[in-house]
């Protein structure tokens, strides 16, 4: 590899090496400065606390978790909760946002008006306020835990959340059975429980992000030239067939990069769930931070995990983007 000062390529490479070295020096100095200052003030540091027992219980967890488990397991539960909200939110907001985006450019004045009203309303209110509003409304309006609304024995709805009957594996034939929710001594056992916190977080984030997705989709649809629509109509395709078979596939090129942005925003906004009691990663990291006092380490873990989730999402979306890109001949 040439690092020759005389050639332009060599100079370019040299500058890049110097720049990378400078950044590395800066980062190294920052880290060293932090550690030195912390030691000078008697603040203990290190990641060894991750193996101590956590000492607190978590309200909802996809994997079995007890307060004796170590901190790293508590963080894992938080991560899984965040991923749960993020995945469900991404799927729902894409569906809803696409429909609303298409509605905004439709010929039907009522659909257009409603979709515009939705987009403007949900885009302009800060998302934390929306989450708080949904949570407080839900908790006020849901039926009391003692008298839940129910659909036979399959679905129960109360302030404790939504209990659903789900099929589970059993060790007896026919190896698949319905697990029905039962109210036992003040708690629900069996079935699937979706807490009001999960609902409020998912609902709030979905509605908020769907407004942005709608705008992205609208931009994508409007980027396709009018000639395509006219050509499709002249081939006697209906409006819906035109949208689905001609416009949307071509709009995807324009839609996918900003859509990735919105997915990342949704994932990061899920950290606001800490305000309404959903035990996501930030909530658990904050608790750990307060119990151990390791502020720098816990925040570093939060940042690293969100960075990882964002990079993963971007990688998946970029792969999809390459697939839908128009192949230039």
């Amino acid at each position: 590899m040439k690092l020759n000062w005389r050639s332009q390529t060599g100079r370019a490479r040299l500058y890049q090496v110097l720049a990378v070295g400078l950044v590395a020096l800066l980062v190294g100095w920052l880290v060293n400065n932090t550690l030195v200052n912390m030691e000078a003030r008697g603040i203990q540091s290190g990641f060894d606390f991750l193996f101590q027992s956590a000492g607190f219980f978590i309200g909802e967890s996809p994997i079995p978790y007890d307060s004796d488990n170590p901190y790293w397991m508590a963080f894992l539960v938080g991560l899984l909760n965040t991923v749960r909200v993020a995945v469900v939110g991404i799927v729902l907001c894409t569906l809803l946002g696409t429909l609303i985006g298409i509605g905004r450019v439709s010929n039907n004045a009522l659909a257009r008006g409603l979709c515009t009203a939705y987009t403007e309303a949900f885009r302009n209110v800060p998302v934390l306020l929306q989450l708080l509003m949904w949570y407080i409304l839900m908790v006020e309006w849901m039926p009391d835990p003692e008298t839940p609304a129910h659909l036979g024995e399959w679905v129960y709805f109360s302030k404790m959340g939504l209990q659903l009957a789900i099929p589970t594996l059993t060790d007896q034939a026919p190896f698949l059975a319905w697990s029905l929710p039962k109210w036992v001594e003040g708690e629900w056992q069996g079935g699937l429980t979706l807490t009001p916190e999960f609902f409020a977080t998912t609902l709030g984030l979905t509605l908020y992000t769907a407004a942005f997705v709608a705008e992205v989709v609208r931009g994508g649809i409007q980027s396709v030239s009018r000639g395509q629509r006219e050509a499709a109509m002249s081939l006697s395709l209906s409006t819906w067939q035109t949208t689905r078979l001609v416009i949307l596939p071509q709009a995807m090129r324009v839609i996918v990069p900003p859509l990735t942005n919105q997915y990342l925003n949704l994932t990061k906004n899920s950290s606001l769930a800490v305000a309404i009691g959903y035990p996501d990663l930030v909530n658990i990291a904050t608790t750990s931070l307060n119990q151990t006092g390791r502020a720098v380490e816990c925040i570093a873990v939060i940042m690293a995990v969100y960075l990882f989730l964002s990079l993963l999402t971007s990688a998946i979306m970029n792969a999809y983007n390459r697939k839908v890109a128009i192949q230039e001949r």
């Binding site: 200052n37 607190f56 309200g59 949570y135 036992v184 305000a275």
Partner: protein, 347 residues
């Protein structure tokens, strides 16, 4: 490649960034007292609004038991209890604010524990309120004791010792309590009073404060009698500044002793010149100058008591039986009355 892009601008930006980062290095407060005197103001970390301990009224004036501790220290050090700037802090922020030098003392209903005293670069001073963690339930639920909370959902605010205590209690009594943890006090209160959780847990004094302020009808809610943990609340300061720690500690001990010997806000000026009690004479600077040993002047406790009154008056004014919180002295009575408040002798 046809033309290398100029790297001049990125380098200038990098240089500026480095300068800004270097300039924002927190100056390690070696001498807190000098900094306070130079500033002319004590910077006190308080809560975002806990009635009775530290809360701002509609005019922005702060009042409460923790606030009065700051005022007494400011009166002793700077001569005026109003020379205080109050910085409202949430539970996750409070220790970082003290560690970094943003505040001089943290008076924010903080439990003094080993972890906080030993591993954060901070020092506990003196407990000003012996509290315990308790549970609040609605009177309708019919629960009379914390042991009856089997499988209950409990609303709890994150960032405190509360979660760990609740888990310990739950395990010891096989209650399987389920926490719903909020970062926001308003959301916690809303969830409990809307009925999302069966119980609310925090320090018993906090429960009284929240019940008095947030409940539609305070009589509908019952604070269960069990205190499941020791929560000695008191101010904290940074480690490594012994002179400052001594001043904060001895102002608080002085307030305890003032109540023990009957020195009140009303009679402190009279006692200063007329007292025959040698202990009081030393405390108020009539005989020996104790203040000089702390780096203050001999009227240090006179000013503190004149600003806030003695500990009993502070308690009665902020959280006592006649206030909305209606808390009894309990463990916070003087040692001569069977409580735990024992002022080390100022001599």
């Amino acid at each position: 490649m046809t033309r290398t892009a100029s790297l001049r601008r990125p380098l200038i930006v990098a240089g500026l960034v480095a300068t800004v980062l270097g300039a924002s290095l927190p100056a390690y407060a070696g001498k807190t007292i000098d900094a306070i005197k130079q500033r002319g103001q004590l910077v006190c970390g308080v809560s975002t609004g806990l009635a009775g301990f530290s809360a701002a009224d509609s005019q922005g004036k702060w009042a409460g038991l923790d606030v009065d501790m700051c005022r007494a220290v400011a009166a002793a050090l700077l001569g005026d209890g109003n020379k205080v700037k109050y910085v409202p802090l949430t539970a996750p922020q409070r220790f970082t604010a003290l560690q970094s030098g943003e505040i001089d003392m943290l008076s924010r209903n903080t439990t003094l524990t080993l972890t906080r005293d030993a591993s954060l670069g901070l020092t506990a001073t003196v407990p000003t309120y012996y509290d315990g963690q308790g549970f609040m339930v609605s009177a309708k639920s019919g629960i009379k004791s914390a042991k009856g909370l089997k499988n209950a959902t409990v609303c709890v605010q994150s960032g405190t010792t509360t979660e760990k205590n609740m888990t310990d209690f739950s395990k010891a009594n096989k209650l399987n309590l389920k926490p719903v943890t909020f970062a926001d006090l308003a959301a916690t209160n809303a969830a409990y009073f809307a009925g999302r959780c069966k119980a609310y847990t925090t320090d018993a004094s906090g429960l009284a404060s929240i019940r008095s302020k947030e409940a539609k009808n305070p009589k509908d809610h019952v604070i269960l009698p069990e205190l499941i943990s020791k929560e000695p609340l008191g101010p904290m300061v940074r480690r490594g500044d012994d002179e400052w720690t001594a001043i904060v500690k001895w102002v608080i001990y002085g307030l305890f002793e003032a109540e023990e010997y009957g020195v009140t806000q009303a009679n402190v000026e009279k006692m200063k010149t007329e007292t025959e009690n040698p202990a009081v004479a030393r405390l108020l600077g009539k005989s020996d100058d104790m203040g000089k040993l702390l780096g203050l002047d001999k009227e240090w406790m006179v000013r503190a008591i004149a600003t806030t009154g003695n500990y009993g008056e502070i308690f009665d004014r902020n959280v006592g039986p006649k206030t909305a919180l209606a808390l009894n002295r309990g463990y916070n009575a003087q040692w001569t009355q069977g409580g735990l408040m024992y002022g080390l002798p100022a001599r």
